[in-house]
Amino acid sequence: MKGVTLDERVVALLSKKFEVGEFDASLPPLVSRERHLPLARALRDELGYHIYGFCVATHWLETTPKGGEPDPEHFEVSTGLRTPGPGSKLAVWRIRLELGEALASLAHEFAGADWQEREQYDLVGVYFDDHPDLRRLMMPEDWEGHPLRKDYAIDTGCAPWR
């Protein structure tokens, strides 16, 4: 993706063990959903990516490119891990989730994933399997809907919280 150059060793790992064929310079590499947790473990244990970076979920509505097949509504979750110390490198990958699919939680591997995944669940409505404590982080507990979804209008009414 732009602004992040993947380390050669990460590229080798992704293409050999995680069946990533395509590396687009403007997008993070796309990894299949089942390989999310093994990839995070491999990056940490084999290549020293110890610092938990971030978790970003995105909602995409159905789109139809001109003369192409329609792309159904789906989610994308990008995760970043970082190496500490001089020459620090960031590794980012993204997972495509169809509606109704959940992603394996990284919270048991990286304690920091707990809050990050809670935030994404809260705001975007992506579910994480095996998460120890999947509650809303930002919005009130009884909030309806997930505000960062594309079909959630910015002026959705709400009763004042008292």
Binding site: M1, G3, G48, Y52, T83, S88, Q116, P132, D133
Partner: protein, 401 residues
Amino acid sequence: MAMTAPLAAPAQPRVDPYLDVEDYEPEADLMVLNLGPQHPSTHGVFHVKLYLDGEIIIKAVPYAGYLHRGVEKLCEKLMFTQITPIVDKNDYVSPMMNEQALNLAFEALLGVEVPRRARWLRTIEAELQRAASHLLWLATFAMDLGGALGGGATLFMHCFREREAILDLFEEVTGSRFHYNTHTIGGNRHDITPGWAEKVKATLDVIEARIPEYESLTTGNRIFVDRTRGVGVIDGALAMELGITGPILRAAGVSHDLRRDAPYHAYDEVEVRVVTETAGDCQARSLVRIAELRESLRIVREMIDNVPSGPICGHKPIKIVSQERATSGQAYACLESPRGELGTFVIGGGANKGSSPHRLKLRSPSLHALSALPFVLPGHNLSDAVAILGSLDPIMGEVDR
């Protein structure tokens, strides 16, 4: 520091943050105490539910979100050129850093080069802002420790006095004391004024001369040391796992600083000395921040006389708000804010025919720092909770966004 080998296990087993209180057998009375959401020591509005066994904390459950303004949703509706002044309000103690982190990501997404003079000015502004932020942290931390420091208000006022001097410098350049809106895609909007360098140096002289006074009140003060030494230890392995960066990680002995390790702006042209401590407690975090305050002033002093000439913006001026478009692509850029890695993840191809981001995520270091509380607070006295929370330097504006 080579980190490919797994880290040594910490001396003590890690606290279970999901402890079931029902099964716990207290030695004294079991009590639930709410710290916050409105309490001066929470630095804003933040709520920690503390389960106490007598005076010892056995479990801490933090609740964030009281200051959630939906900034990320708002950014999806605004255009790239309109977002800078919005993010100023996130980390309201270092707005310069927010603008820079945001514009670095936009520059990466849109493929815009920043001229050398703008990069130097950004570096100087960032370091002055870091000094101002650390001064404010010192002020409020002294207040948190309160009675131990003669009410704490002495140092509070002194640090605010010096911080004002730095804000005056920013006001002269940008016209604003706080919400600068001075960065734009491709560079800066305001050039420094003639004679600004002399004023900066005069301010640096004043602050540098006063740091020993602060040290004699804090890190050199027996009462301060008693309240901070060995309190709130976050070891390096836990900090990295939680995604904690910045002074908290460096106080735990991990030499990691994006200014040196992944240089942006003009940091590849100056020497950045990374300060580390090994203890990982509140005292180590205080020592690291005060040393970084000195280090920031030194970097500014080194750079201020050598600012290269040239344009301050490498991009055509913004005449219509929808001028910048990115119909696809994703970008991430980050910098070392006073609290750690402040990053912006931006996805192009949003509304208004691509002149808004499809998704904008702000990686705030304070959120990661606060997520350490369930691991750190248990086992401590109730009175230490305030010291630990203050030593993490959380800014609720960027935690909740």
